[in-house]
Amino acid sequence: MKTAYKYIIFVFLLFLSTNSISAQETIGTSGSGQADILAAADHTLQTNINILWTCIAAFLVFFMQAGFALVESGFTRAKNTVNIMMKNLMDFSIGTVVFFFLGFGLMFGVSNGFFGTTHFAMNGTDVAGSDWNWTFLIFQTVFAGTAATIVSGSMAERTKFTAYLTYSVFIAAFIYPVFGSWAWGSLLDGGGWLEGLGFIVFAGSTVVHSIGGWLALAGAMMLGPRIGKYGPDGMPRAIPGHNIALGALGVFILWFGWFGFNPGSTTIGDGNIGRIAVTTNLSAAAASIAALFTSWIIHRKPDGSMALNGALAGLVAITAGCANVSPIGSVFIGLFAGFLVVTSVEFIDRFLKIDDPVGAVSVHGVCGAFGTLAVGLFDVSNGVFYGGSWSLLGVQAVGVLTAFAWAFGLGFILFFIIKKTIGIRVDEIEELRGLDIGEHGMEAYNGFQIFSTQ
């Protein structure tokens, strides 16, 4: 394809510059001048393709917001649907604005060694000379939105709306961008110590997903379980989601969006798009299969919601290494992520007794950490399984631990302060009646009879 349109442009330029019918002759006489024009045209073309592809990828990642909204509402009860939709809408909206004014500068501005200090509200970036910065901003904004929205699921069905809005400001303004600057700052004008160590987190298993996942863990812990989640004997009870069709549609949308998330992170329109799409897809598929069979063995039925969680787990896990592992490596990463997500959901539910309604901590936190470590094993040039040293794995482990300490630590402090000031949880009656009536004064399924007793 690439050579085909280069050829077309070549012919077109020849026609323009010679403006004669004796094209054959011209090639012979002024070959070097033609080559310069050709190189310049090729460069412009490649730049525009990069911009176009990165924008398309950004729009695909934006669509993942719809996926998250559907997964979370489908896996929870009908009486909280409006609340979940509103949380997903508002964390992206608030995130977009504060990331523009604050987060982007902290993440990609010229760094003071800890975080960026310029580029707030795009000031000081050479925006007139380069369309790239706008493209980069929209691409990074949707990533920040993704990190923010992960938390919504684990805190579903019991969080005060005002508490959630407050949290949304802090993740997009500070928690996500500062960690992001350590790993990704040099993508623009910043620079961070983690990338200096050689930390590989290509499209963000750690930066986006683990950060979101560990914040989700802190939030769920601070909230406590939903009423009725744990019996008097301390055993977890199922609180089934109200619409698996919505949940499944959400997973498909997320999978679709991930073709922007991972292949888009090259920000270059070339053959890598296809290669990364292949590793991404293989991992998701393998993880879905692994989760299905794991749940089949443990629960004796092929659990639909677990297979759906499994697909997401595979996507999260491959996000770190999608550009650095082989397709076969991605299958192994996916298989293990699928197994891991089921066991992690069980572990968090039964042993830690933390109520995470949609499995956000397992999918994003645990599988994000696993995927980041897996780069140290499966990286085709430096991974342990490919004859590399253990040093890459060590660096990956440093990144994973740093992400946990930063996100869980700050998240715990943030949610504690929210709890002590505006309050984090709705009262008991409101939780039983549903947050749709209590927080928003409206129902999601007006006119339908729904047992609001669950």
């Binding site: 039983l432 009536i437 004064g441 409206m442 009879q449 609001s452 007793t453």
Partner: protein, 113 residues
């Protein structure tokens, strides 16, 4: 034999079931109901406009019991559903003339069993 019909707040159903189980009342039927009594409705808003909701969501509990379980059942419902606020609900008690178990053809006390 008596047929007990209670209208209670949906959110108190679990507590009522629990209280009934503790009193060895295991059989009941539950239906969704809409109704209003002394508790006035509430207001929902939809796109800025107010909707007055007059008929509130309630749950109807039906329990057929032998006479020696009537007190226990009533006590269980009250202990689960009472908050002291308007809207807790009401209990109605009917005489029950007959009861037949379809599977065996048993009637009366045996059928309620």
């Amino acid at each position: 034999m008596k047929l007990i019909i209670a209208y209670i707040q949906p959110e108190s159903l679990n507590a009522v079931k629990q209280a009934l189980f503790e009193r060895e009342v295991y059989k009941m039927s539950i239906t969704n109901a809409l109704g209003c009594g002394e508790q006035k409705g509430y207001h929902e808003t939809y796109r800025g406009a107010v909707i007055e909701v007059n008929l509130l969501k309630k749950v109807r509990v039906e329990i057929a019991v032998n006479d020696n379980f009537v007190e226990k059942a009533i006590e269980g419902i009250i202990s689960g559903a009472k908050t002291g606020k308007i809207g807790d609900g009401k209990i109605f008690i009917h005489e029950l003339t007959e009861c037949i178990r379809i599977r065996t053809g048993e009637t009366g006390k045996l059928a309620i069993g």
